[in-house]
């Protein structure tokens, strides 16, 4: 079931209503059933798969406590099963294709069976969530959950099941175990997040997605036309993924749960590293805690090792997004950006100290714009799956474009900008607010008077500006 389907609009109010009528013991069982229904509505087999992942990780985590002497075996078993399942469903075809290509390039005639495997929705998200839990139990950072219902709900909680945020056991599990309470404040925030999420998806993401789709459908986009399409895709992917998180957080709030934030206005990032602290934050923190730090992180002495750790983490991040070379390239590109950023920051540290105070804001603006441009180059790699086409695009020069196409590109750029305006305005207001009074929780202090106005404006916006051609969430494919 997709958030932007009519089924979800019927499903959510029913779930919320029944959920609050039930006593506390029945609530988790009901939520678990609702979550499995949510997933099985897409395909019944997906339910069986998630049940397997749940059972294996549940048993292994309990095994670690009851048989501490062989807890490493339990950990390895859980990891092998979870990662094996992910590898089979997500990466097997990619791996076999590349083996076949390599062998044929080497002149060895070789044919492999074609694997027609359907990618289970949300597999990357719930697998990472399960792995994190099992590792935390192994490390002794979290107590294993003895109640299978609670644990199954932790893995399959429907608002964040398909595209995150990837929750940690330390954050979500206590909420599952305790009695939930909902305050008017949570209802307000939940409804606002839902409205804002649907606005971002139906208005911003779907409209800019149409522009990006058309540009990337052309056989011969000129330089400017191509980059106007990349800009549109950059806005689309942000609005699309952010909207999913907002709808997930909004739905969870109505049920009395608080999910983690996944975005913090990433297009206002002032460096590539800052971008990753703001974009898909739960994945970034996951990779940091379970890949980067175990590799040694930045504590290793050798600068080569430090660089290698960063590159491994980002390449894995790219590979997590999809079984395709362009995603690996995209991850590697961001790894290089982060490395360059570190080198430049060290080199320019003395200059920064000499910078007069009046120049702080212009320099900040330049940094933000530069980061935004670099991130957009990355989006080109993300969007174009065919490597040959990607390199053709990267070779385009401004002089290869016709005047006619330039004007069209200008028009598409402005159109994207108009649709993206609410996101940028939201960012500006947010940072202005932080600048004035320090960080606060989103929407917490918006006056009651403004909330209905905002909700009404967003609803009218959805009704009047929604794209005539709605699309599925981009991150569904990951």
């Amino acid at each position: 079931m997709s958030f932007n389907s009519i089924h979800f609009l019927i499903f959510l109010p029913i779930v919320v209503l029944v959920y609050w009528i039930l006593p506390r013991r029945g609530q988790n069982i009901f939520l678990l059933l609702a979550s499995y229904y949510f997933l099985c509505a897409i395909h019944p087999w997906f339910g069986i798969l998630i049940a397997l992942v749940t059972t294996v990780n549940y048993c292994c985590s309990l095994g670690m406590i009851h048989r501490p002497g062989i807890k490493k075996i339990f950990l390895i078993s859980a990891l092998v099963f979870s990662l094996g399942e992910l590898a089979y469903f997500k990466y097997a075809s990619f791996f076999l294709d590349n083996v076949a290509a390599l062998l044929s390039a080497a002149g060895v005639p070789f044919s492999l069976p074609v694997l027609a495997v359907m990618l289970p929705v949300g597999i990357s998200f719930y697998t990472f969530q399960a792995i994190a839990y099992t590792i935390d139990v192994y490390r002794g950072e979290t107590k294993p959950c003895a109640n299978l219902i609670d644990f199954a709900l932790f893995i399959s909680f429907f608002p964040q099941l398909v595209a995150g945020p990837i929750e940690r056991s330390g954050h979500l599990m206590p909420q599952i175990r305790r009695r939930r309470q909902v305050s008017p404040e949570m209802i307000q925030q939940g409804l606002l997040l839902l409205f804002w999420g649907f606005f971002k998806k139906l208005v911003i993401a779907d409209n800019t997605g149409l522009i990006a789709f058309k540009v990337f459908s052309l056989t011969d986009p000129g330089f400017y036309l191509l980059w106007s399409g990349v800009f549109a895709f950059g806005i689309q992917i942000l609005a699309d993924f952010w909207s999913y998180t907002d709808i997930a957080r909004g739905s969870a709030l109505l049920l009395g749960f608080k999910l983690s934030r996944n975005f913090d206005h990433p297009y206002f990032a002032r460096s590539p590293a800052d971008f990753w602290r703001r974009w898909h934050m739960t994945l970034s923190y996951w990779l940091r805690d379970y890949v980067y730090i175990p590799l040694g992180g930045s504590r290793v002495q050798s600068s080569f090792r430090r660089g290698a750790n960063i590159m491994i983490t980002f390449l894995l991040s790219g590979f997590w997004h999809g079984a395709s070379w362009n995603f690996i390239l995209w991850g590697g590109y961001h790894g290089i950006l982060v490395l360059l950023d570190r080198v430049l920051r060290n080199l320019l540290a003395p200059v920064r100290k000499l910078l007069p105070r009046q120049l702080h804001f212009p320099v900040l603006a330049i940094k933000i714009l530069l980061t935004f441009a670099l991130v957009n180059i990355g989006w080109l790699m993300f969007r174009v799956t065919d490597i040959q086409t990607l390199f053709q695009y990267l070779q385009l020069t401004p002089w290869s474009s016709t005047l006619r196409d330039n004007r069209i590109a200008g028009y598409l750029f402005c159109l994207t900008l108009l649709y993206a305006l609410p996101i940028f305005l939201h960012g500006l207001l947010y940072f202005w607010d932080i600048h004035r009074r320090g960080r606060q929780e989103e929407y917490a202090d918006i006056l009651l008077l403004l909330r209905p106005i905002l909700a009404a404006v967003l609803l009218i916006g959805i009704l009047t500006l929604r794209s005539p051609e709605p699309s599925t969430f981009i991150y569904f494919q990951f």
């Binding site: 004007r407 004035r436 209905p452 500006l465």
Partner: protein, 575 residues
Amino acid sequence: MSQSCPRKLFLSNPETKPKYMGKISLFFTLFSRWKTGKWFLLSAILMLLFCLFAPDIILHRIVSPRADFSRNGWWMLFYAPSHPVGVESYEVFLPAGEIVALNPDFKQARGYLFWDVPVTGPYCFKLETDDYGTLSVDGKIIATMTPDHPGKQRIDAWAHLTKGLHLFQIRMRKETGGGGFSVGFMTPPMMNSRILAGDDTAVPALGSLDFWWWVMAVAGYGLIPAWVFASFCTLSLALPLSLQNHPVSVPAAIAVALVPALFIPVTVQREPYIGTMVQQKLEAEKPDFVFIGNSMLWSRIDDDYLGQLLGGKKVHSIVNFGGLSAVHYLAFKYLLYPADIHPKRVFIFFRGNQFILPRARTDDPFVEKIIQRLTPAPDPLFEQVVHGDSRSMTDVVYDRLLALFPVAAAQAQIRKKIHYLALIPAIFGSTDDNPKKNLLARVNKRFSFAESSFRSEIGTESRRQEADENSYDFYGRVETSFLPNMLELAQKKHLPLAFIRVQERPTKNGAVPDPAELKKYMQDLRAYLEEHGATLYDFTGDPELPLSAYHDGDHIKDQKKYTELFVRRVGDLLQ
């Protein structure tokens, strides 16, 4: 929270008094205290009352009693900011019924006129200008002509008027060269329109009426429905002030805040059904022959002249500009079929393979309005044929939402405005005559399938649809078209049908477009129609229809000549 302001609007975190929010917060602080908030509430209520009652009071008590029926026409105000002799503006009376011309020296014009509407009902007004123009009735804009068109254009707008006096306003702004406008109206059927004129019109004795007009417009009849805004303010203020920390306050406030969406914009509504009026007219006329068609029919047959040629027989045409087979079917089913008349024959004009393309042009906004006028409620067959296999649950729910929130119907208009806004920077420095229009045309061309510039895997569905439109497989498609139902209805009421295929415009070398696959299609169509008791006549290849007989596109230059030709060719069907 200080003791002095116990009625703050914050639900939580009361310590975060908006002192940190700077100047903007001052405005909201006003709302956050009952002491000051109540004055805002009172003001909003007064504004609401004013908006609800002021327009009627102004129209019926101040303006209308001063209508001057001794002069039938427009009270015009011309503006000329760059007039060579320094005249900036002047007011003048212009008799109604004349086309108002705008001298190149004058940039803008505004005019007022009263019309004493004789009968309550839906009226279709047509505004013809060659530049920007709006037509408003009682302060409400009913037609807007944008300046992005070459030469004179016509725009139709419907308004439901009650019997009695109504105030009309025309506004015009000239872009280039000279200009002019005319306002006409027509009652169904959509023929025989006439320029607004006659004894029923009057000029306002209060001169240009600018002041009162704007009061009315602001109060709620016109541009922004201010009463909606006022209701919104009133309720949004009243609810938080009264509910404060109550748990239902926010859902209730959100629900209240959405109330205005039920009414915005008030002008976008379903078009009025014209069937009853047409039926009454047909029953009064009792025509011997009825014609159904679009502009192909309109440019070819002159009703009165045909009547004369047939020795005084009565002819009635039902013309729906832009309509294709779906519209012809609906016109037949809802205008002609229920009328208590028995014409000797019903002629239906068509082009090409349209009878097996039931969905053709049904999603055009202009045609959608025609369809609304032709049907009192959605036609089941139309819904099944046009939307049957493509309407999802979402569409059904969205339709319900649309009925609840008329504002959603403005989607196309608002999208258009956004696209035009995005064009402004993109045409910067352009030397084109009409840069916006040209750029849009270029965009459409660049992203057109016809240009074949798309990757092969893209748009397979759209390509399939394009291929469908070029399909001539009559028997493969006829059962999913409107034709069987139309023939069934005709047989039920014993209405003899005659289908007239018009000849398309010949090429420059005189060749008539008639592809081989269309010939096979026509053979099948003829056989099918004859099998069901209908007749077909094909004008394709007629020697008396050379290229010189055509005006623009497939429209004929001389209506009367064609009418004569029609009598000569299908005389036996006119007996």
